[in-house]
């Protein structure tokens, strides 16, 4: 039985989740200016409106304590002047109503402004990313792109809605309070303001330490979430290998770390409130002791004392908020740096200034001495000359890295050649409008992506303008109609990414229907190797034939059955064309292709 007792060694290191993102960055004025640039479109409308209403309510908030504390008590109540008290009450009432109106406008203005800026920023980033090249996406995980479009933008939201405008008001408020206090009584003001440095200290130093410990918590939490996510997705593997106890060990350690960091962070946070209150208390004691003394020695009036008491309570808010904004800015530095990094990424290819329209292409493709290097040290294609006639099916054969995908990428003009020219119908691709070329070329992918939505919507992705009937027609032509009809809701069946509703073969037929609907002149086919049962594969072969009819097709093929049917087979090795011709010709030539076919059968024959 002893072998059933799993070893009690703690498995705390069995998984690794790294956090590679800086949470905050130091100040950078250039970056701030660039961020503020996004407010520019509103600098004549929403921005000034928000600032004016903000200032208005700030001034009112500064006036009221004076009116109640100083004026009402000293000039009306103490002297028993009822008439004046009534006037005063009316003035205060009017000010409150004004404040009410200003607040309504301020809340609306600030939020509308902030949301528009964020909307613009998000849109700019998203649109920009859409036009970046394959290379960009190849070198980054989907997760790291998502973080920028979603989290980083969201983290700027607060800064744009309240942050920047609060920065203005709070400064006005703080300076206003100090000015008023000095105006009322310089002596008392000086005494009471001793607490100011104390408050600033709490707001910056203590807060920084609290902030760091919460960052620790966030990091722990993100590790924990990464593991949870993986644990759920990999549960079948875990259970197959009976690793539940070991994983539980790992998780418990992770959870314990998280608990500890959270405990420390809450503890530090709990210091915050009491410290603020204590510093306020110090102020109050000074006010009471020194204030009473000043009153008794007739240097100030009671109203002044009361006004001081009111303002003392108002100190903390702007200081605290300024501290918060400072935090926000540090986070915004990190977020905006990541966002700008993407925005500064140039698309690989762009339209020339005088790019010509390129409507109905026939599909005759020529490569003339094409050299291509992704980066200077690695040459992917070396002086390739090629001709693909309109309507032909051409198969590209070769190992990974032989240059098959590069040829396909150059035809769609995802890249421009380093030297030489790629021509369609005799026209250099660099001279014509990019959208026109891409519109008429479709890539049929190995692993097609199913978007969440109905089958109908998924096929229509190929051509958003198509009618329902056209969608059905396209599905019928490629033979996808059968399985779609068999689904619970037919074309209206909801599918989603990774949804198990569709098998690999069905997804492929769906992709064919999409392409059929897009009706391109040139098709680039990256052949699927996914698991497809024999009957379905027959259907796919058949559908493919229909799809390719009357179009130029370039196939990055893996299956002999597909390759064999091609009009021209191009065998590539290390960026060079080794041989080309149709199946019969190449078999007779007894070259590389022949070798390839032979190994395939040997593995079958064993």
């Amino acid at each position: 039985m002893e072998n059933l007792q799993y070893n009690k060694k703690k498995h705390t290191k069995r998984f690794h989740y790294s956090q590679d993102q800086a949470m905050e960055k130091p100040f950078d004025w250039a970056q701030i200016r660039r961020l503020l640039g996004f407010m520019k479109p509103y600098s004549k409308t929403l921005l000034p409106g928000s600032i004016v209403t903000m200032l208005l309510s700030t001034i009112i908030r500064l006036l009221i304590p004076i009116l109640i504390g100083k004026v009402a008590i000293d000039m009306a109540i103490s002297s028993g002047d009822t008439r004046f008290l009534i006037y005063l009450v009316i003035v205060i009432g009017v000010l409150y109503v004004l404040n009410y109106v200003a607040n309504i406008l301020r809340i609306k203005g600030v939020n509308i402004l902030g949301q528009h800026v964020i909307y613009d920023l998000r849109k700019t980033l998203f649109s920009h990313i859409q036009h970046l090249s394959h290379r960009f996406f190849d070198t980054r995980s989907a997760g790291s792109i998502l973080v920028r479009v979603l989290n980083d933008i969201n983290s700027l939201q607060e800064l744009f809605t309240n942050g920047i405008i609060n920065l203005l008001t709070d400064s006005v408020m703080l300076i206003g309070i100090i000015a008023i206090l000095f105006f009322l009584s310089p002596k008392l003001a000086l005494a009471v303001l001793i607490i100011l440095p104390l408050m600033f200290f709490i707001s910056t130093r203590l807060r920084r330490s609290i902030r760091r410990s919460w960052q620790q918590v966030r990091m722990q939490k993100s590790r924990m979430n990464s593991h949870l996510n993986e644990a759920i997705q990999g549960i079948r593997v875990t259970q197959s290998y009976a690793q539940e106890p070991e994983n539980t060990d790992y998780f418990e350690a992770l959870n314990r770390d998280n608990f500890e960091s959270e405990r420390i962070a809450t503890k530090k946070s709990a210091y915050f409130g009491p410290f603020v209150e204590l510093s306020n208390a110090v102020g109050t004691v000074i006010l009471i002791a020194y204030g009473a003394h000043l009153i008794l020695s007739d240097q100030i009036e009671i109203g002044t004392f009361v006004t001081f008491a009111f303002f003392l309570g108002m100190f903390w808010e702007p200081i605290s908020r300024l501290g918060q904004i400072y935090n926000q800015l540090l986070v915004a530095m990190a977020s905006s740096e990541r966002i700008f990094e993407f925005l500064d990424e140039e698309p690989n290819v762009e339209n020339r200034k005088n790019a010509k329209p390129f409507p109905n292409i026939k599909g005759d493709i020529r490569f003339e001495k094409v050299v291509f290097a992704y980066n200077s040290d690695r040459i992917a294609l070396q002086e390739i000359d090629l001709h693909m006639e309109a309507g032909q099916t051409v198969a590209l054969v070769g190992h990974t890295g032989s240059g098959k995908s590069t040829i396909a990428n150059l035809i769609s003009r995802f890249y421009d050649p380093t030297a030489g020219a790629v021509k369609i119908d005799g026209g250099d691709l660099r001279d014509v409008r990019l959208q026109d070329v891409r519109q008429q070329i479709s890539v049929v992918l190995q692993d097609t992506f199913v978007f969440s939505g109905t089958i109908m919507e998924n096929i229509r992705f190929g051509n958003p303008k198509a009618t329902d009937e056209q969608v059905r027609e396209a599905a019928r032509i490629v033979g996808a109609d059968d399985f779609i009809q068999r689904l619970a809701d037919g074309y209206e069946t909801e599918v989603e990414e990774r949804g198990n509703i569709l098998s690999a073969g069905e997804r492929q037929l769906l992709s064919f229907a999409r392409t059929m609907l897009a009706d391109p002149r040139i098709i680039i086919l990256d052949e699927a190797t996914a698991s497809i049962d024999t009957e379905t594969e027959l259907k796919i072969q058949h559908a493919l034939k229909t799809l390719l009819q009357g179009r130029t097709a370039i196939m990055i093929a893996h299956r002999l059955s597909t390759i064999r049917e091609a009009d021209n087979i191009i065998v590539l090795e290390q960026g060079r064309i080794l041989e080309q011709g149709n199946h019969m010709a190449l078999m007779d030539a007894r070259g590389k292709y022949y070798e390839l076919v032979k190994t395939q059968f040997q593995s079958d024959e064993k």
Binding site: G93, H116, Q130, I232, V306, G505
Partner: protein, 584 residues
């Protein structure tokens, strides 16, 4: 309350912190109300009463009270938070253990996103409520009650007059809460939609680019983006409507206070200090009152979160182990199915119908058939990922149910179509099945046998290369070979190859096939495949069709049986014949 009773196990051990936290909250609240009283004494007795000698006493008393308050405040917050954090720590461990134990049946119907949101947002919701909810509620109630009491003690008429505005405020707060929560829900929903849109766009970028649908995508995104913005702005309009109104009501209260209170002071019915104290006391009531709705909402959300967590915690674990399972050291790998039927869910079709076969140790069994014919189901029953609806499965002559689950599964190795690797080093991934008792040499040996060693050595950190989301990206074939090494390292008596080579290209397949041949030696092997070439050497081939064994036998027999197998063979090999002919 029912929900919280069920969750009692998690928080009950830490109740001491909770009670202490409540105690300190009461202390803090009581002291808070002292501040206005001190203000009043200073004005009325010290200043107006000319008793300057009271100042030191007042100041000292005030400082002492404030220190006590500071300490109490720290403790109430820390202990309250700790209570929540501790409870959630315990809860997370239980949830994780539960997730590890739940069967495939559960996961077939679960969605990762949904589970994740329970494990993160809902757990967090509970923590927040436990840390702050109850305490906040107590604080608000105490503050209002004590403040009111003090106000009435100072002046009954003035207290009554200022109270007039309270019902208005309560109504506004209530209406605000009713409006703002749906609005917030809309923001969250539209943010969710926006996030999904971006997520799909990035994950499906290849598809977008392949059909040059970038502009279409931008349009769709812009729609979602503006919906989100508009929802947000709508919500801020709700705020703009109610928040200034609440403030206005509070301010009207102040105006009433100053006019009526001023009158009372002038007519000598109230001391000036008491009036000043009133100002503070009123703000103690107005602030918390606007918060009450928030606290109540927090409670109802915590209840909903608790419910969703209980759904996970109480989910049925349908694979149970015997009290005293067999824990043999060795399994030789004799698999027998006796009239086994399987139905995944009540309304589903039968996935397997009366399947019987016998696979002696060391034999190779091929499973062939279309998608959904039941090939994978057979293999998953051996490891008890599912329970058969009827019939019996024996391993080495004993029913699978009698085995210790861990022993059983550790003797069965799986290589699946899509290799799932974890975010850790290659080394750890290969050793996933037995992390404790393998040496590095054994890991390398397994990798060599799986034809993975060579490419691993070419990676920057070799066996220490990190895989996963932020780690190195491997090709499908490379991942598959690591998965094979992983299966090999547990030295299973039964090996299941579920379409293990279909997702790789031609050249890689040749390599993997070679690796597999090596691996199958001395093990009972089940091969699931679409290609005849993968199963033709099997000792017995089962051809499945809609959950039934349509025909069975060796390759040579089936080839002449005139059934499904022969048909598949013809389709696959007519092609080859044609190529061969052309090569002659």
């Amino acid at each position: 309350m029912h929900i919280f009773k069920k969750l009692k196990d998690f928080y009950w051990p830490y109740r001491r912190n909770f009670y202490l936290s409540l105690l300190f909250i009461a202390i803090v609240t009581a002291i808070t109300v002292v501040y206005p009283i001190i203000l009043q004494i200073t004005i009325d007795d010290v200043v107006l009463g000319n008793q300057y000698n009271l100042i030191p006493i007042i100041s000292a008393g005030f400082v002492i009270l404030m220190i006590i308050k500071g300490i109490a405040n720290f403790l109430q917050q820390y202990l309250g938070d700790l209570f929540g954090v501790q409870t959630v720590f315990r809860m997370r461990n239980s949830l994780y253990q539960k997730l590890q134990r739940l069967s495939f049946t559960y996961y077939d119907n679960a969605r990762t996103g949904d589970l994740m949101s329970r494990l993160t947002a809902d757990v967090e919701g509970i923590r927040f409520f436990l840390s702050a909810g109850v305490g906040q509620f107590l604080r608000v109630v105490l503050l209002i009650v004590i403040s009111l009491a003090v106000m009435f003690a100072y002046s009954i008429p003035l207290a009554l007059v200022t109270m007039v505005s309270m019902p208005f405020l309560a109504v506004v707060v209530y209406r605000f809460d009713r409006r703002v929560h749906p609005a917030f829900r809309n923001i969250r929903t539209s943010l969710g939609v926006l996030n999904t849109r971006v997520q799909e766009n990035i994950s499906g970028m290849n598809t977008v680019k392949s059909l040059s649908r970038e502009d279409f995508e931008i349009d769709r995104f812009t729609d979602n983006n503006s919906t989100y913005r508009d929802n947000y702005i709508f919500t801020s309009k709700v705020w703009a409507k109610f928040f200034p109104l609440m403030e206005l009501i509070g301010n009207i209260c102040m105006v009433v206070l100053i006019s009526y209170g001023g009158y009372l002071v002038i007519s000598g019915q109230l001391e000036l200090g008491a009036l000043v104290a009133f100002f503070s006391l009123v703000s103690y009531i107005l602030g918390p009152l606007s918060n009450l709705g928030f606290i109540i909402n927090m409670f109802s959300q915590a209840k909903a979160s608790g419910e969703r967590l209980l759904e996970v915690l109480e989910a049925k674990e349908d694979i149970k182990q015997l009290e005293q399972p067999i824990g043999t050291r060795q399994i030789s790998g004799h698999v027998t199915f006796d009239r086994v039927s399987l139905q995944y869910a009540k309304d589903d079709d039968m996935a397997l119908k009366e399947i019987s076969f016998d696979a002696p140790p060391g034999k190779i069994i091929g499973l062939v058939g279309g998608t959904g014919s039941g090939k994978t189901s057979i293999t998953q029953l051996m490891t008890r990922f599912y329970e058969p609806t009827s019939g019996d499965i024996y391993i080495d002559g004993k029913p699978v149910q009698d085995y210790n689950l861990r022993t059983l599964r550790q003797h069965i190795g799986f290589v699946l179509q899509e290799a799932f690797l974890f975010s850790t080093t290659i080394k750890e991934n290969i050793a996933y099945g037995n992390p404790d008792n393998v040496s590095f040499d054994q890991i390398v040996d397994a990798a060599k046998r799986a034809q993975a060693h060579d490419f691993i050595m070419e990676l920057p950190n070799q066996y220490d290369t990190l895989l996963g989301e932020r780690g190195m990206g491997l090709s499908g074939g490379q991942k598959q070979r690591i998965a094979i090494a992983r299966a090999l390292l547990i030295d299973p008596s039964i090996l299941i190859l579920d379409d293990a080579t279909s997702a790789v290209d031609m050249q890689t397949e040749v390599k993997i096939q070679k690796a597999l041949k090596e691996v199958m030696k001395n093990r009972t092997t089940f091969i699931i495949a679409h290609r005849i070439s993968s199963v033709k050497h099997a000792d017995e081939i089962l051809v499945l069709d809609e959950g039934e064994i349509a025909e069975r036998g060796t390759h040579d027999f089936l080839l002449r049986n005139g059934g499904l197998y022969q048909r598949i063979y013809d389709i696959q090999y007519q092609d080859q014949k044609a190529i061969m002919r052309s090569a002659q």
